[in-house]
């Protein structure tokens, strides 16, 4: 029996941890790539309404239109709700052209499935929203998603 014990005591080979940093880095890169940064800075207040019958939105075929009151650092725009598309404030009449331009940027197979996401502040009056919808009808982009926070039923 003592034969087996000899020489085997106390020298377990250390597990090499040299590759651990690599693994950690790999994960880090994954998260860096997967996290989406907010791509346009908002110039307006944007507190979304909440709803419980929500569906998921497919990002690859969506353009967002924001609307709401100008936020504190953009007081020069007035206090009435305005429309923001990408990085600039646009007028109601410009919605049609902007949306069509956004649709053109998509790949051909996604263009018929184009959805407009409306991110509208909950204190905005609904008249502005119906103006936007009227413009969207003229642009013939008829699929609309009212973005809302999911609320438990």
């Amino acid at each position: 029996m003592s034969k087996f014990k000899k020489g085997k005591q106390g020298d377990l080979p250390a597990i090499s941890t040299a590759s651990l940093p690599d693994i950690v880095f790999m994960l880090l890169f994954f998260f860096m790539v997967a996290t989406v940064m907010r791509d346009s800075s908002l110039m307006i207040e944007n507190r979304l309404p909440s709803a419980d019958q929500v569906e998921k939105l497919k990002k690859d075929r969506t353009a967002f239109i924001y609307a709401g009151k100008p936020s504190a650092q953009f007081k020069q725009l007035g206090t009435e709700p305005v429309i923001q598309f990408n990085d600039k404030i646009i007028k109601v009449e410009e919605v049609q052209a902007s949306v069509i331009a956004a649709q053109q940027e998509l790949t051909e197979e996604l263009q018929p499935k184009f959805v407009v996401g409306l991110k509208v502040d909950k204190d905005t009056h609904a008249g502005l929203v119906s103006d936007i919808k009227q413009e969207l009808r003229q642009a013939n982009t008829l699929k609309v998603m009212y973005i809302a926070n999911a609320r438990a039923e």
Binding site: L20, F31, V54, K56, L57, D123, N140, V144
Partner: protein, 213 residues
């Protein structure tokens, strides 16, 4: 005193610390996914065709005034009662549809003065320009919820006994999720089932433009 060599710091636990941080961020970050109510707008219709006359009893009117009050079928109503009222209207089945079939799956009161058939039942919504968007979304949500409730009920009745849905509370939702998951491989049976349910309670939600004031 003799100068002693500084002992080497063991860096073996560095990876552990890094992992700990990584796991913490992994758990706390939510990759944000936007959600919302998907609706289709009606296309602009320039033709001068006379719109078909819709019987008053097949029309469920919802008005929201500038003070965010609801007027449903000429009566003031609280938001919490709207869903039930809409369900009762859609599910009434008091008459026949265009093809002359009566609604055999409706469980409503079969009231003569309410809607004939889910095919014919139309919810019409109108709001003021000054209505708040929050209220508008709340009302939209309740109306969509009424349709979803009825579709869910029909899905459970028709397909609830299939083995993949047995025990699931929300059969229709499960079907939609399944469709979403397999969006690249078309499942004609599943799509057919979803279409069947949608056809039982077609979403006919019309919105009138607010008056210009």
């Amino acid at each position: 005193m003799a100068k002693r060599a500084a002992p080497e710091v063991n860096a073996g636990s560095m990876a552990d610390i890094a992992f700990l941080l990584l796991i913490f961020f992994l758990v706390t970050t939510t990759i944000e996914k936007d959600k919302g109510l998907l609706r289709s707008l009606p296309p602009i219709d320039d033709s001068e065709v006379e719109p078909p006359i819709i019987k008053q009893k097949n029309l469920f009117t919802v008005l929201i005034n500038r003070n965010n009050q609801l007027l449903v079928e000429e009566e003031q109503m609280e938001l919490k009662d709207l869903r039930q009222a809409a369900i009762e209207f859609l599910d009434n089945g008091g008459g026949t549809n265009a093809a002359g079939e009566s609604c055999d799956y409706c469980k409503g009161k079969r009231d003569e003065s309410s809607s004939d058939h889910p095919d014919k039942a139309i919810i019409s919504m109108k709001h003021d320009r000054e209505t708040s968007y929050e209220k508008y979304i709340d009302v939209q949500n309740e109306l969509v919820a009424a349709y979803n409730f009825l579709r869910e009920r029909e899905a459970k009745r028709l397909y609830g006994n299939l083995k993949q849905y047995r025990g699931t509370e929300k059969v229709y939702q499960a079907m939609l999720e399944e469709k979403e998951k397999n969006q690249f491989s078309k499942d004609t049976i599943l799509n057919g089932r979803i279409e069947t349910i949608k056809k039982l309670f077609p979403m006919k939600l019309s919105e009138a433009e607010p008056d210009k004031s």
